[in-house]
């Protein structure tokens, strides 16, 4: 457990508007978090911010959600962003861990919480560090709230620690 406590894990979740990120130093110990946004065609800004995160905090691992293959339905632009972030992390020497959505959902499946919003609520209740950033419930005709990406990234980091901890 002490080794887990000392590993700094960066989880990112790219969206159409940018990416949400969280830095965890333990299973339920977020250190920093935030969202980076950039308009379509300004992806360089995302990469610069990502590199700054790597430089400043020196995480040991990057956790992302699966973005390639049949199981993923990410848009081509987001897939490109994900690939670039993965490449930048590999160049910086980070361990890269990619979980399919189903694995993340399985981690939070107790009580039937399997939607992104349900997972976000579970995280807000369990950790309480960023419960004030909880997105509103998304009706089908609403666009996704950017804050959701923060909770998606947190879910990835918690999944990582759940799996790393056995």
């Amino acid at each position: 457990m002490s080794e887990l406590r000392e590993s700094l894990v960066l989880a990112v979740h790219p969206t159409a508007r940018g990416f949400g990120w969280v830095l965890f130093e333990g299973p339920e110990a977020p250190v920093l978090w935030g969202m980076v946004s950039a308009r379509k065609g300004r992806e360089k800004r995302l990469y610069a911010r990502f590199e700054r995160l790597l430089r400043r905090h020196r995480p040991t691992a990057l956790v992302m959600e699966s973005f390639e293959g049949d199981a993923s339905r990410r848009a081509g632009r987001i897939q490109t962003v994900c690939r670039t972030l993965r490449h930048l992390a590999a160049v910086a020497g980070l361990d890269i861990v990619i979980y399919p959505r189903a694995v993340v959902e399985a981690c939070f499946a107790k009580g039937g919480r399997t939607t992104r919003f349900g997972i976000a609520r579970a995280i807000a209740a369990r950790i309480g560090y960023f419960d004030h950033r909880m997105p509103r419930y998304r009706k089908p005709w609403f666009a996704e709230d950017q804050r959701q990406s923060l909770f998606d990234a947190a879910a990835l980091a918690m999944t990582y620690f759940r799996h790393a901890g056995g």
Binding site: E3, E6, S7, L8, E25, P30, V31, L32, W33, G34, R56, H57, R58, T60, Y129, F130, H132, R133
Partner: protein, 114 residues
């Protein structure tokens, strides 16, 4: 393994939803100074450290573990020669000093003694 995170000031600010301007105002410092303390570009002065402890209800050693560790390491390095000087003396003053110096490692902020 070395500690990764050496300051939790920004963690606590974000946790409580405070903006830089709001916290800087609470602490009585400028926004740019706050950012420098958060990024550890400048050592935190005692009056700001005490104010941070009061705002967040967290001891300074938990808010700024890197700052404390640097001070503790330097202090212990200076204490060693003094302890070596008084260790083989048996007068009352030296015994008092020995007791003080030997209790110091126990007061470090939860870290193993170097």
């Amino acid at each position: 393994m070395a500690r990764h995170v050496t300051s939790y000031l920004r963690t606590h600010r974000l946790r409580w939803g405070l903006s830089c301007a709001e916290l800087a105002n609470l602490l009585g410092i400028s926004k740019s100074s706050l950012i420098r303390y958060e990024l550890e570009l400048r050592p935190i002065p005692a009056r700001v450290l005490v104010a941070c402890e009061l705002v967040f209800g967290v001891p300074g050693s938990e808010l700024f573990p890197g700052f404390y560790e640097a001070i503790e390491d330097a202090l212990m390095a200076r204490a060693l020669p003094l302890h070596a000087r008084v260790a083989d003396r048996n007068d009352p003053f030296s015994r008092k000093k020995q007791a003080l110096l030997e209790a110091m490692p126990g007061r470090l902020s939860g870290r193993p003694v170097l």
